[in-house]
């Protein structure tokens, strides 16, 4: 009994010791929010307000600007619509393939279709260029063997790259819906007299419609805001809203028009994303998940499965393989000997990256771009975790305040990268000489991902876990060390890798604000690709290959550490 009393004493002492440190919960909330909100206010909301102010200025809406705006808007819708249609055409049968059938190598093929989604736009653009572009593998080989020429137009390349990027969205959303469709519904329909076709049209498709619509809308949204792919594969004659913002801001210095286009773009994406959330929350049927996968049985099923396996492997492997291949393969007319095409393996494109040539397009050896990228990415990781942790902690236990702040925090995700860059130019133009702005821009892009990764992990730690630990004698500090930290370590690592990858691949904002003497890898690839000459092209391929390797390694890391509770985006 005296022993128990003694214990009680130390317990109260401990409590007293820490009650000194405890502050009012409101103050705590505010302390958590100060840094993230200040950051967003300075680097997002203030620039955004400046863009809006420019939009409303008389120089924005002029007789000269309006036709440009209208044609950009029209073309953006046109290409996004076509891309979405093609993506559905490949994606829906693929979703059926993965949701309904079991076959060897299925998980590998599925993973392969998901790879492009995480790749930087410049890598995808470079990959398609290396395969089908004017200086690509296929075209050079055809010319060499004097075969009938086959050169897909730049527009075709853009559409293909969009399909390459977004097919995985359709596979995931429609495939999940399809595989969670109770097979007994279709069986009942059959017993009621519906043949296979009418089961599809009367039961399966109506039940899939909400998820197909949601997937289409999301794909459309991504195609609508696509920038890197269009600029790199198409060039400035394919002026979507994004490309036009870039051109007006950087090439023609018509900031009011750029602002007008940005506002229009933001408005469109907001409408689409609202529509998407509405669709996702509203039109869902309660479905009973049940395994419906089986090996292909009939001849038609076998034909379907093998055809689509081949098609998907070819479509997704070819660009990914041709990029590194082209970076190691010389396929060019030698200097002065136009007729003779030299070919063979070479490491020249890689060694050239380390040489600072006079008259080259940089003032530094191109490999400096890789160091810049790594430095920017490291800074972005530190900055985004520093801001993301307090915000995620506050959002993990939401009060009314957090319900208001949550959509605000996620807003940068809805605005395009080019627009973020434009905001920086308009607002902080005089500091553009400093390389410091780049990590801030990257942090803006990465922050929503970081928060969305950390938040569920923090929320998943039940309070009674901490209470149990303290009842067993752990001090608050020990609770943090032994409970919170081990559980959050994986999530933090995932978030860090996410933000690292985002920064490495970021193209839109960086292209607008990066100084010529501080290029990043994506910016360097863009410059190499926009120059003539086999050496420049080869260096673009080499750099894109490097970026692809680093990003792939990061994706593998994320997949390894990603806590199962972390949400999708």
């Amino acid at each position: 009994m005296p022993h128990a009393l003694n214990h009680r004493d130390t317990e109260t002492q401990r409590k007293n010791r820490f009650s000194v440190l405890s502050v009012s919960p409101w103050l705590k909330r505010i302390a958590l929010w100060v840094l993230p909100l200040a950051f967003l206010a300075v680097f997002f909301f203030f620039p955004l307000s400046r863009i809006l102010a420019f939009t409303l200025s008389p120089e924005a809406i002029t007789a000269k600007n309006l036709p440009i705006t209208a044609s950009a808007l029209l073309f953006t819708f046109y290409q996004a619509f076509l891309s979405t249609l093609l993506t559905l055409l490949l994606g829906f049968p693929s979703a059926v393939l993965f949701a309904r059938f079991d076959f060897r190598g299925k998980s590998l093929l599925r993973a392969l279709t998901a790879v492009p989604f995480m790749l930087p736009t410049v890598v995808v653009a470079a990959a398609f260029n290396s395969l089908l572009g004017q200086r690509g593998l296929l075209n050079t080989l055809i010319t060499n063997y004097q075969l009938p020429t086959f050169t897909p137009s730049p527009f075709t390349l853009i559409l293909l790259a969009h399909v390459f990027y977004n097919t995985t969205i359709v596979i995931r959303i429609a495939g999940t819906a399809l595989s969670s469709l109770d097979p007994q519904l279709e069986q009942t329909a059959r017993s009621l007299g519906a043949d296979s076709l009418r089961v599809w049209t009367n039961v399966t498709l109506p039940l899939l419609r909400p998820s197909l619509l949601a997937a289409s809308l999301l794909v459309f949204l991504f195609d609508f805001t696509s920038f890197g792919v269009i600029l790199l594969l198409g060039g400035s004659q394919f002026a979507t809203l994004e490309v036009e913002i870039y051109l007006q801001a950087v090439k023609f210095l018509n900031l009011p028009l750029a602002a007008l286009l940005s506002t229009l773009q933001l408005l469109c994406t907001l409408i689409f994303s609202t529509l998407y959330s509405y669709l996702v929350t509203r039109n869902s049927y309660p479905l009973a998940p049940r395994s419906t996968q089986h090996p292909p049985r009939t001849f038609q099923q076998k034909l379907f499965v093998s055809t689509f396996c081949l098609l998907l492997s070819a479509f997704f492997l070819a660009p990914l393989a041709s990029l590194p291949a082209r970076s190691l393969f010389r396929l060019e007319a030698d200097r002065g000997q136009r007729a003779q095409i030299q070919y063979g393996f070479t490491a020249d494109y890689y060694t050239e990256l380390f040489i600072n040539r006079r008259g080259s397009i940089f003032y530094v050896p191109p490999i400096r771009a890789a160091f810049n990228s790594l430095a920017y990415a490291s800074a972005t990781v530190i900055l985004s975790l520093l801001l993301g942790f307090p915000a995620a902690f506050a959002l993990a236990k939401p009060t009314r305040l957090e319900k208001i702040l949550d959509p605000l925090i996620m807003l940068p995700l809805g605005s395009s990268a080019v627009m973020l860059g434009l905001g920086f130019i308009i607002t902080y133009g005089k500091w553009l000489t400093s390389p410091l702005l780049v990590p801030f821009a990257h942090t803006l892009v990465a922050l929503p991902f970081v928060i969305r990764t950390l938040q569920p992990a923090i929320a998943s730690i039940p309070d009674h876990l901490r209470q149990a630990a303290s009842s067993l004698g752990a001090s608050p500090l020990e609770v943090w060390k032994h409970i919170d930290l081990p559980i959050l370590r994986r999530a933090a690592l995932t978030a860090a890798t996410f933000s690292f990858t985002v920064s490495l691949g970021e193209f839109g904002a960086t292209l607008l604000i990066a100084r010529p003497e501080y290029p990043t890898i994506p910016v360097a690839i863009e410059r190499f690709l926009s120059q003539p000459g086999g050496l420049n092209y080869g260096q673009a391929m080499a750099m894109a290959t490097l970026l692809m390797l680093i990003t792939t390694a990061s994706i593998l890391l994320i997949e390894k550490f990603r806590p199962p509770s972390a949400g999708d985006f």
Binding site: L185, Y285, P286
Partner: protein
């Protein structure tokens, strides 16, 4: 009407159904009774055409169904979890099969209404199926299956998801409907009470074999196997050894004493037999086994009294728990 001949089916190399043959006659309700994994659902799905047997044939009115796809069989199918189409309302669900048959709209409306009336769901036409209770949903599923005027109704544990009271009510309605429409039916369940309540004939499946078939009364009176007796809960099964005797009059010893049995089986001295001790009918000649009372359950007009050795009997005046009690039971030979 429906005939199954020597059906065999294996699943992942293991035999699932072995040599199943039976018939369902006009207007008859046949109950497939068995534990989970006995193959009863697979058998039903084969009859519906959703799965194919490895060998054997299924005939309806003398016609082999092997080449008839499910949608042309005209068999109504009712699942445990209703499988109502969530994107259609009550009336659209019921009319689905009629629409598939491309009937004129007038007739679709009439027949759907009649079907809904049959299951007492008038006025529910425009309701969303997701807003209905479990019992209402199952009525819609039944109305939907009835609307196509099926040649045969197939039920796969249709009341498994409902609570006891609702189950009893629906069971009664179902019996009435089946009787009135005279549609032959196959009813799959693992619940022997349900089976006894609805079936004209019962078929007990165990590990892919038909263990026993007969009317409920026949099966109850003579379960014929240890598994069936235990599964149905007819009484306590125990072992005995034949000591002596001749046809019609055997002396068998067991842990509960020596019994004189009058069964139709051939036995030899020293043979091991399975015995069943069950509550006797009033006119039965009874044996007496003395053991300790472990449980007394009140059941309406009598008490079910269970003993420490697994015996149970029904009594009007219950003994106390813990008491030693000499119970009158009837001992039978199962094999």
């Amino acid at each position: 009407m429906l005939e199954l001949h020597h059906i065999f089916k294996t699943y992942e190399g293991k035999p699932l159904l072995t040599d199943i043959s039976f018939t369902v006659n006009a207007g008859e309700t046949l109950c497939l009774l068995g534990a989970s994994g006995s193959g009863k659902s697979t058998l039903l799905r084969m009859i519906a055409g959703l799965e194919t047997p490895d060998s054997g044939s299924i005939l309806f009115n003398g016609m082999d169904l092997a080449s008839t796809p499910p949608h042309l069989r005209d068999f109504g199918l009712v699942f445990q979890d209703y499988s109502l189409f969530p994107h259609l309302n009550v009336n659209e669900n019921v009319a689905f099969g009629l629409k598939m048959r491309r009937l004129p709209p007038q007739e679709i409306t009439e027949r759907a209404a009649r079907s809904l009336k049959l299951v007492n769901l008038q006025g529910f036409e425009r309701r969303r199926v997701t807003d209905l209770s479990g019992g209402e949903q199952q009525r819609v599923a039944l109305a939907r299956a009835l609307a196509i005027r099926p040649r045969l109704l197939l039920f796969d544990e249709p009341l498994g998801a409902l609570d006891k009271k609702l189950k009893d009510g629906l069971l009664e309605e179902l019996r009435t409907i089946l009787h009135r429409t005279q549609i032959p039916a196959i009813y799959v369940t693992h619940d022997q009470e349900e089976a006894f309540a609805i079936a004209d004939r019962i078929l007990i499946l165990h590990e892919g074999h038909i263990l026993r078939k007969g009317t409920p009364a026949e099966v109850w009176a003579n379960p014929q196997s240890v598994y069936a007796a235990e599964f149905l809960g007819v009484g306590k099964v125990f072992d005995g050894v034949v000591m002596d005797g001749q046809n019609g009059n055997w002396k068998v010893s067991s842990e509960f004493g020596i019994f004189a049995l009058d069964c139709g089986h051939e036995h030899s001295r020293g043979e091991k037999v399975h015995l069943l001790a069950r509550p006797p009918k009033v006119q039965d000649e009874a044996n007496v086994i003395s053991s300790m009372v472990t449980d007394v359950i009140f059941q309406h007009d009598r008490y079910k009294v269970t003993f420490d050795n697994g015996l149970f009997v029904y009594l009007d005046e219950p003994p106390k728990i813990g008491e030693q009690f000499a119970a009158r039971v009837r001992v039978e030979c199962l094999s």
